[in-house]
Amino acid sequence: MDTEVAAFRGVGKSYGRVRAVDGLDLVLRPGETVALLGPNGAGKSTSLDLLLGLREPDQGSVSLFGGSPREAIAAGRVGAMLQSGGLMADVKVRELVRLACDVHPRGRSVTGVLTDAGITELAERRVDKLSGGQEQRVRFALAIAGNSDLIVLDEPTTGMDVSVRQAFWASMRAQADAGRTVLFATHYLEEADSIADRVLVLHRGRLIADGSSAEIKARAGARRVAFELHDGDLSGAAGPFEDSVLRTLPGVQSLDVTARVPGVRTVRIRTADADASVAGLYRAGLYPRGLEVTGLGLEQAFLTITGEQDNQDAVKETVR
C-alpha cells in the first residue's frame, strides 16, 4: 500500500544568491486536499516545480509515489496545472483536451473531462481566443485528463471572477471526493479555508505552519475586539480620552482607531487575551458600544504567522 504520495526530504533550491526553497521537509498522504499558502516569492511555484521534476533540487530529494517525479508522470499518476502553463495556439479546445486525454496512460473520455472542467460550451472555441478565466479552466481540464492519483494546481483560480471561482471550487472538490490527492497553491485564503483539509504555510522558502485551517487559526492565537467609543459616554471617565489608555490594556498586540464621524471613534484591537482586554476596558471607565469579539480569519492568522517569522528572522540577523 502506498502511504506516501509525495515527499520532500531536506530539499533546497537557490537561484543565484536567492534561497527559493530552504530545507523543506514534507510528506503528502493519499486522499488529502492540501493548500499551499504563502506570499509572493515564498517559494510556492518553485516547490511545485521541484515536486513535478521540472527543476532539480540543489540539496535533498523529492519523490512521488516512491519514485522520481518523471517516473510518476510517465505512469500517469500525476495531473498538473501550472501557473505558467501555456496552451497550444491555433487549435480548438476540444482538440487540445483530446491530445491531453490521448497522451495520458490512464486517459479519460474527452466528453467527461470537458464536463468536469465546465468547458463543454467552449469546446469548439479556438484556444487563443479565450479569456483568462476560461484559459484557466482549460488548463484544469488538461490536469484532469486522466485518472491520476495526484492533482497539482498552481494558483488555479487566478483571473476568475467570483461566481466562476465558486463553480471551480466545486470541480476541485469533486476531484478530492473521487479519492484523489489534491495539492494546490493559492493566495486566496478563502480558497484554502473552504476546500483544504490541510494547510501548509510557506514563507521565504521554509515551511512555517502545517495543519488544518482551524489549527492554523488557533496557532495565531489572537482574537479581534472591535467596538465604538462615543465622546458623550466618556463624561464619567477621568480626564480626556487618550489612545494610550487603549494601548496599555492587557494582551493588546495592535490597535487601530478611526474617527469618521465627529465624536465617535471606531476601535479595533488585536489581542492575545480577549477576556483580559475587555475587562480592562471597563476598569478604565470606558463604555464600549457594539462590542464584538471574533476569532481571526485565516487571512489574519496567516499574516500573524508570517509576521512572527519575520520578527524572529530580524532578531537572528541582529544577533549575528
Binding site: 501550472l82 501555456g86 491555433d90 491531453a100 488538461l142
Partner: protein, 240 residues
C-alpha cells in the same frame, strides 16, 4: 505522440500567414523572375524557368520550416506550453519531433505549388526528374528544419523573428535565390546551405548527375544543426 504530430500539422495548415508567406508569395515571385530575366538563357547552369522554379521552391520551403519551427518553439517556450507538455507522459523529444514532422509536411505544398506553376509556364522535365527533384528538395528541407529548431531554442520570441529573417534573407541573397551567384561570391556560397540546397537541382540537366559535393555539404550542415539543437534543447530543459 501521433495525436501531437497530427495536431501540429493541422494548426500549421490552419495558419493563414503560413499559406500566404510560404505558398502564395514564392509562386508570385516566380512569375516576376521569369519575366524579369531572359528566359532563353541559362542561369546557374539551368534554364531560367527551371532555375527560378527551384529557387522559389527552396525559398518557400526554407521559409516554411524556419518561421514555422523557430518562432513557434520560441513562443511556446515563453508561454509555458513546453513546460505543460513536460507534465504529460510524452517523452521530451516528442515535442521536437512533432515540430520537425509538421515542418516536413508543410514544405511539400510549398514545393509542389511552385512546381505546378513552373510546369504551367513551360518547364519540361521527365517524370523521374520531377519526382527526383521533389524528393531532393523535400529531403533537403530537413536541414533547415533542424536549424529552425536550434534557433527556436536559442532565442527569445522578441528577437527570434529578427534573427530568422536576417539569416533567411542573407542565405537567400547569397545563395542564388533571387539571382544566380557567380565569380568570387560563388566561393563563399559553398558555405551557404541555401546555395547547396539550390544546387540539388543541377542533376536535371543533361549530362549531370546529383551534385555529391552539395549533398555532402548539406549533410554536414544537418549534423551541425542537429547537434546545436540537441545542446540548446538540453539547456532549455535544465532551465525549466
Amino acid at each position: 505522440m501521433t495525436t501531437l504530430i497530427r495536431l501540429e500539422i493541422l494548426r500549421t495548415l490552419r495558419n493563414r500567414r503560413y499559406l500566404l508567406f510560404t505558398i502564395a508569395y514564392p509562386a508570385l515571385m516566380y512569375f516576376f523572375f521569369i519575366h524579369a530575366y531572359d528566359s532563353t538563357k541559362l542561369a546557374g547552369g539551368l534554364p531560367v524557368k527551371t532555375y527560378f522554379m527551384v529557387s522559389m521552391a527552396t525559398f518557400g520551403a526554407v521559409g516554411a520550416v524556419l518561421t514555422g519551427s523557430a518562432q513557434r518553439i520560441s513562443l511556446e517556450r515563453k508561454s509555458g506550453w513546453v513546460r505543460q507538455l513536460r507534465l504529460t507522459a510524452l517523452p521530451g523529444r516528442a515535442y521536437t519531433f512533432g515540430k520537425i514532422a509538421a515542418s516536413a509536411v508543410t514544405t511539400l505544398p510549398a514545393i509542389l505549388v511552385v512546381f505546378a506553376v513552373g510546369a504551367s509556364q513551360g518547364v519540361s522535365l521527365g517524370a523521374a526528374q520531377w519526382i527526383g527533384l521533389v524528393a531532393a528538395l523535400w529531403l533537403g528541407s530537413f536541414v533547415f528544419a533542424a536549424l529552425g529548431v536550434a534557433l527556436g531554442y536559442a532565442a527569445a520570441p522578441d528577437s527570434v523573428q529578427t534573427i530568422v529573417m536576417i539569416a533567411y534573407m542573407l542565405m537567400s541573397l547569397f545563395g542564388g535565390t533571387w539571382f544566380p551567384v557567380s565569380g568570387s561570391l560563388e566561393k563563399f556560397a559553398q558555405f551557404n546551405p541555401v546555395y547547396l540546397y539550390n544546387k540539388l537541382a543541377t542533376f536535371t540537366q543533361p549530362g549531370h548527375s546529383l551534385d555529391t559535393v552539395a549533398v555532402a555539404g548539406l549533410a554536414g550542415f544537418l549534423a551541425v544543426f542537429v547537434a546545436a539543437a540537441a545542446v540548446l534543447y538540453r539547456r532549455d530543459t535544465r532551465q525549466a
